[in-house]
């Protein structure tokens, strides 16, 4: 009788103290980005409120543009990251891509919410209405809805591997949908009032610089929030594993 017994006592669970796993380099990098973000915010405030010239037609309310547009860029960038990470997850099956996608979706929804709040705040004093079904803002509302449905879906799937795959599929479909949404809404409605960003020659240099500073600051903010969120995700995963074991 051949009995092969591989008693499981040989493999000890890899119990490593959290501090040891969190590499010092990671924490230092996070702090650096966080400080950079914090320091750059006053710079943006100065650029947006003081440095940039006041818009002749729209008045001071136009200055919200220096937050609104960067937030929009980052909201879109975050979703692009979700898209790429989703493809990577389906292609490789590696968990870290799901972590990145989930983090970027959560951070992205924050920025997109900012777009949807600053949009009406800008619209009311300048054009008299809180909401027009203008293509860009409407597309951002749809982007926001897709983000939210992505996060809700994740909440409804408890098993990690399946949750990752399902989210990835939604992330891919959702991202490909956004430009089509924009196109269809644009055909359906008139143009975004004052397409400032694309008329480069129409915008004074100071405005452009301020806008770019805004984009840079918001990108730093995105990276900082991402790194925080990824860390929280790792800690949460480890806690779940220890509960399950």
């Amino acid at each position: 009788m051949d009995a092969k017994t591989n008693a499981p006592s040989a493999d000890l669970p890899e119990q490593i103290a959290p501090e040891a796993v969190a590499p010092e380099a990671g924490r230092a990098r996070r702090r650096l980005i966080g400080i950079a973000t914090l320091l750059s915010i006053p710079i943006l405030l100065y650029m947006g409120l003081v440095f940039a010239p006041e818009d002749a037609q729209q008045g001071p309310a136009q200055r919200i543009f220096y937050i609104h547009v960067p937030a929009a860029w980052i909201g879109f960038l975050a979703f692009f990251v979700v898209f790429v990470a989703s493809i990577a997850l389906l292609a490789t099956g590696k968990r870290r891509y799901d972590d990145v996608a989930a983090a970027s979706a959560e951070v992205g929804v924050v920025f997109t919410t900012g777009v949807l709040i600053t949009g009406p705040l800008w619209g009311r004093p300048v054009w008299g209405v809180y909401w027009t079904w203008d293509p860009r803002l409407t597309s951002f509302m749809m982007l926001w809805l897709i983000y939210v449905s992505y996060l809700v879906l994740r909440g409804y799937v408890p098993e990690p591997a399946r949750r990752a795959r399902y989210s990835a599929v939604l992330g891919i479909v959702g991202f490909l949908d956004v430009p089509i949404v924009y196109l269809s809404v644009r055909w359906w409605r008139s143009e975004h009032p004052g397409q400032i960003v694309f008329e480069r020659d129409g915008m004074p240099a100071e405005m452009l610089v301020s806008l770019l500073v805004g984009v840079a600051v918001f990108t730093l903010g995105y990276l900082y929030l991402m790194s925080l969120r990824l860390r929280v995700g790792r800690l949460r995963d480890r806690a779940e594993e220890e509960v399950a074991a």
Binding site: L90, M142, S149, L153, A161, V169, S184
Partner: protein, 224 residues
């Protein structure tokens, strides 16, 4: 067995099931009728420009009908792990998707064709372009059902079951809906412009794109 063969076998099975139970068509058909009737009370569907409102009402009804049908169709596969029965067969996953898509499309479109005449009569519409009406219904439905079948396969495996399906589909389906409403309105008023052609192309393009994406990603939804 070929792709199409497997897909046809699966769609055929759905048809046979439906003929026996009349589960989907009955509940969906009745639902669409109720939506149309209720909306006729709620919205101004008389007078000038009523075609625009009518088109919107119609497509909301069609959307909900499609969602209901697709949810039921996948729930049937979830019961008794029947989907697993499909997955252990040599049929390629893409063919399984295609089979379910064809079944969903067939049922939803059949309900739509039945409801359209009722709708036209109830709202006293004149149909300027019947062919355009049918075409716009087909293209729009194909778009909704393509995305919906993919998401339904996911939805039935979540905590909320089919209930989460509308939340997943509706944001994604917006372009298809806009295009469908525009072309349906044109079909009712007879005002076919260059814009209408653009809308039809958008609808077709949407369908083609998401059909490819769905076929590519469906295996990831069904594999473990």
């Amino acid at each position: 067995m070929t792709w199409l063969g497997s897909a046809a076998t699966i769609a055929g099975k759905d048809l046979r099931l439906e003929l026996k139970t009349r589960d989907v068509v009955a509940s969906v058909g009745l639902f669409v009728l109720l939506v149309v009737v209720t909306a006729s009370f709620a919205f101004p569907t008389t007078g000038e420009g009523r075609e625009a409102v009518a088109a919107g009402v119609l497509w909301i009804a069609f959307l909900f009908a499609a969602l209901l049908g697709m949810g039921r169709s996948m729930a049937i596969e979830k019961e008794e792990s029947c989907l697993e029965g499909l997955l252990v067969s040599p049929a390629p996953r893409e063919a399984i998707f295609l089979g379910k898509l064809l079944a969903n499309l067939g049922f939803t479109f059949a309900v739509e064709l039945l409801i359209l005449p009722v709708f036209v009569v109830l709202l006293e519409l004149r149909v300027a372009g019947a062919a355009l009406l049918v075409l716009s219904a087909f293209l729009g439905t194909l778009g909704i059902v393509t995305v919906g079948t993919l998401f339904a396969a996911m939805a039935v495996n979540t905590r909320g079951r089919e209930a989460i399906l509308p939340l997943l589909v509706m944001p994604i389906a917006v372009p298809a809906m806009i295009a469908a409403v525009e072309t349906t309105e044109a079909a009712l008023t007879g005002a076919w412009t260059g814009g209408t052609t653009s809308w039809l192309l958008l609808s077709a393009g949407y369908d083609a794109l998401f059909l490819m994406v769905a076929i590519a990603t469906f295996p990831h939804v069904t594999e473990e």
